[in-house]
């Protein structure tokens, strides 16, 4: 019997824009041969809100809340980076206490962001419980934030020249208590997910990004460090006294498989949680008394010029390229979003793998679509 008439097709599957594992509205067009993926093409822009165009039409202080909406999981870090850019161009000196408060806020926010990443990554591999555990601790952080300055998602903590609110001793105690809990439950997290045999087998050796490739594609943040490149702007191009804090930069070591696999990226994030708690503790200890905001004129006019400031966000290097023509509004505001650059590698690594691996890889890159599409 002839079987010539039997032939197989490649299937083109649309993963997203509505799909549980695409972190929002990412659309991946996946070409599959059965379960085997031969090509993955990401399509973005479903959440484009013209952030840069808005930046050109609002005054400098007015744009700070918009930065909250970029990477909405690490909003304080965005505020911080934008404020640093404006302050650098305007030559505003920020009081020391304000800088420490910014660091505390940014690092707490980084922990909250990594906790979500922990939960969703667990969810993507099929484990539901880590999600709830991650959210439980994040809830504590959000409660602290709420007490501190009244917001839970779009914080608008950093203002140009300082921060919005000071912490009371009570809040400082809450933060210390949280750090204690966080360190204790961190071990639970690892027992539950990180070293789970199935989880390790699902993520180790999947989506390996060698260090050269990571640099070539402009990956930053945990994705770059997961590939074994020891580079963290907080240490290597310091801002906000980060160089004076004592903390490690976790890098991928290939503990469970190859250096630069999905597990390494995940593990870098998990260890960064602990490093961030160290920073917060030191900042709380060292924080001097004093003003929390510099004197900034009501109508802020920046001198003519341009500046590019980059900060270490939970997801990588966030950059603000600010061009001023001497007016009250930015002439041009370009946002270099870490997720945008990190996502550009999907095409190169999501091929010749299984359908389930694509989800693991995209999950391990940990994108926020608000930032990718801006």
């Amino acid at each position: 019997m002839s079987v010539d008439y039997l032939h197989t097709h490649e299937i083109l599957v649309n993963m997203g824009p509505q799909h549980p594992s695409t972190h929002g509205v990412l659309r991946l067009v996946v070409k599959t041969d059965g379960e085997w993926v031969t090509e993955t093409q990401p399509y973005i822009g479903y959440l484009h809100r013209c952030a840069e165009k808005i930046g050109e039409s609002v005054e400098y202080p007015q744009f700070v809340p918009y930065t909250d909406r970029l990477d909405y999981l690490g909003a304080i870090n965005n505020n911080l980076c934008y404020c640093l850019a404006v302050e650098r161009l305007a030559g505003i000196e920020v009081p020391e206490r304000a800088t420490y408060l910014r660091v505390i806020g940014a690092e707490l926010n980084r922990i909250a962001s990594h906790l979500i990443s922990y939960g969703t990554f667990g969810m993507e591999t099929g484990a539901f419980t880590p999600f709830f555990y991650g959210f439980r601790e994040r809830e504590t952080i959000l409660s602290i934030f709420e007490k501190w300055f009244g917001a839970r998602l779009t914080y608008h903590l950093c203002r140009i020249g300082g921060v919005m609110a000071d912490i009371t001793p009570e809040i400082a105690q809450d933060i210390r208590d949280f750090i204690k809990t966080m360190r204790a439950v961190w071990d639970d997290y690892n027992t539950l997910l990180s070293f789970n045999e199935i989880f390790v087998r699902r993520t180790a050796d999947v989506g390996v990004i060698p260090p050269e490739m990571a640099i070539e594609y402009g990956l930053t943040g945990p994705c770059l460090r997961g590939s074994g490149v020891k580079w963290d702007l907080r240490k290597n191009d310091p801002y906000c006294f980060y160089d004076t804090f004592d903390f490690d930069i976790p890098v991928g070591e290939g503990l469970m498989g190859t250096v630069g696999d999905s597990w390494d990226r995940y593990w870098v994030r998990m260890r960064e949680i602990i490093e961030s708690t160290k920073i917060i503790e030191q900042a709380l200890d060292r924080m001097p008394e004093g003003a929390i905001r510099a004197k900034v004129p009501k109508i802020l006019k920046l001198p003519k010029g341009e500046v590019y400031v980059r900060c270490e966000n939970p997801r990588g290097e966030l950059g603000f390229y600010l061009v001023s023509d001497g007016g009250t509004k930015p002439y041009r505001l370009k946002i270099r979003a870490p997720s945008f650059c990190n996502l550009s590698i999907t095409n190169a690594i999501c091929k010749d793998c299984l359908l389930a691996d694509v989800i693991v890889i995209v999950g391990s890159i940990d994108i926020v679509l608000g930032e990718v599409d801006r």
Binding site: I11, V13, H19, P20, S21, G34, E35, G122, M123, E124, T125, G126, A127, F128, T129, F132, Y133, R136, L192, L193, N196, I198, F199, R201, R202, L354, L355, A356, D357, I359
Partner: protein, 354 residues
């Protein structure tokens, strides 16, 4: 059941006047109704427990609003499901799409006929009980492939194909583990198998004292059963984070409810069969009794063992991540199948020597 009908036919004067075929038909319907009612009640209780257990594992309460501690939540959900619009996609293959949920449910529902709860509490004492059970579970695969294909949805198709591959791989170790037990009992009826086990735990087939091979087979059977019922870590056909909802992505309302019911029924079935084959069934360390008291104690024994196994299923589900398809297949073909074959061989040798 048959004994009961024959007893009634000869002893109740009114029934002797009507044709016996009619009486049989009525009693078959009554039997089916009893099973259906039993399953529905069990599933409702079980879904509630699942949500509660999941809640407590995940550091939250689970349903709390409908009724005290949310006990009426499942009933409310069931009502909601039945009142929802029944959407049939215009591009679907209508016949396959409509039949599939019923076929899947049939596969999970029909085996209940042979499940005994005590020496005399059963519907049918079929002489090929276990064989019938394994044969009927295969119906589920056909239904799920039909649902996957009929939905005309790529994700559903993936789900259907994954389930087919999964079932083919896991039915082998499952069947062989059953054979390991049958080697010792020499009987395919669930009665025979249960009666071959004693009243005390070390006389059950799960006990390594009874036979180390059935001990292994018991674990293989339970793992394969997890896979057959699509439970975590083997929930690939549904794989929410990958395939959205898998084969039932396009179903809504009633039809979805049937898939849902079938899934929980199948879970219950696997646990009940495991408890009968390996955990001694209605035998238990409780004092023996005859008559209705014996039936009651048997029921308590079977249900407590089944519920324990169901709890383990939940525990696993809310703890473990999901396997990948290649890992899933190799778990079965590379590990479970050789292990179960070895156990069968060992059991055959053991039963020949001793």
């Amino acid at each position: 059941m048959r004994e009961l009908i024959e007893y009634l036919l000869t002893h109740v004067p009114l029934l002797t006047k009507v044709p016996s075929i009619f009486v049989y038909a009525v009693f078959i319907l009554i039997g089916a109704g009893v099973v259906l009612g039993y399953i529905s009640v069990m599933v409702i209780i079980w879904v509630y427990l699942e949500r509660k257990v999941a809640g407590h594992i995940q550091a939250r309460y689970g349903p709390m609003r409908v009724g005290p501690h949310g006990i009426l939540q499942t009933i409310a959900d069931a009502i909601k499901l039945f009142m929802k619009e029944d959407i049939i996609i215009p591009t679907s293959h209508k016949v396959l799409f409509i039949i599939a949920p019923f076929l899947v449910f049939f596969g999970a529902f029909a085996p209940f006929v042979v499940l005994p709860y005590s020496e005399s509490l059963y519907l049918s004492k079929m002489n090929v009980g276990v064989f019938y059970l394994l044969a009927l579970t295969a119906f589920e695969v056909i239904g799920i492939i039909m649902a996957g294909w009929g939905s005309n949805n790529k994700w559903a198709l993936y789900g259907g194909m994954r389930h087919a591959a999964q079932m083919i791989c896991y039915e082998l170790p499952m069947g062989i583990s059953v054979l390991t037990v049958v080697v010792f009992t020499g009987s395919l009826t669930l009665h025979g198998i249960t009666n071959a086990q004693g009243w005390l735990p070390w006389q059950w087939f799960i006990s390594p004292l009874k036979s180390p091979f059935t001990f292994i087979a018991g674990f293989v059977f339970y793992i394969a059963g997890l896979a057959a019922t699509k439970r975590v870590p083997f929930d690939l056909p549904e794989a929410e984070s990958e395939l959205v909802a898998g084969y039932h992505a396009e179903y809504s309302g009633m039809r979805f409810a049937f898939f849902f019911l079938a899934e929980y029924t199948a879970m219950y079935l696997v646990c009940a069969v495991t408890s009968l084959l390996f955990l001694g069934g209605w035998n238990g360390p409780l004092p023996r009794a005859q008559g209705w008291l014996g039936n009651l104690l048997g029921l308590i024994n079977v249900l407590s063992k089944t519920y324990f196994l169901l709890f383990v299923m939940l525990w696993l589900r809310w703890t473990l991540p999901r396997l990948r398809i290649d890992q899933l297949l190799s778990t079965s073909l590379k590990y479970l199948l050789p292990i179960s074959l070895g156990a069968l061989l060992g059991a055959a040798i053991q039963s020949a020597i001793f």
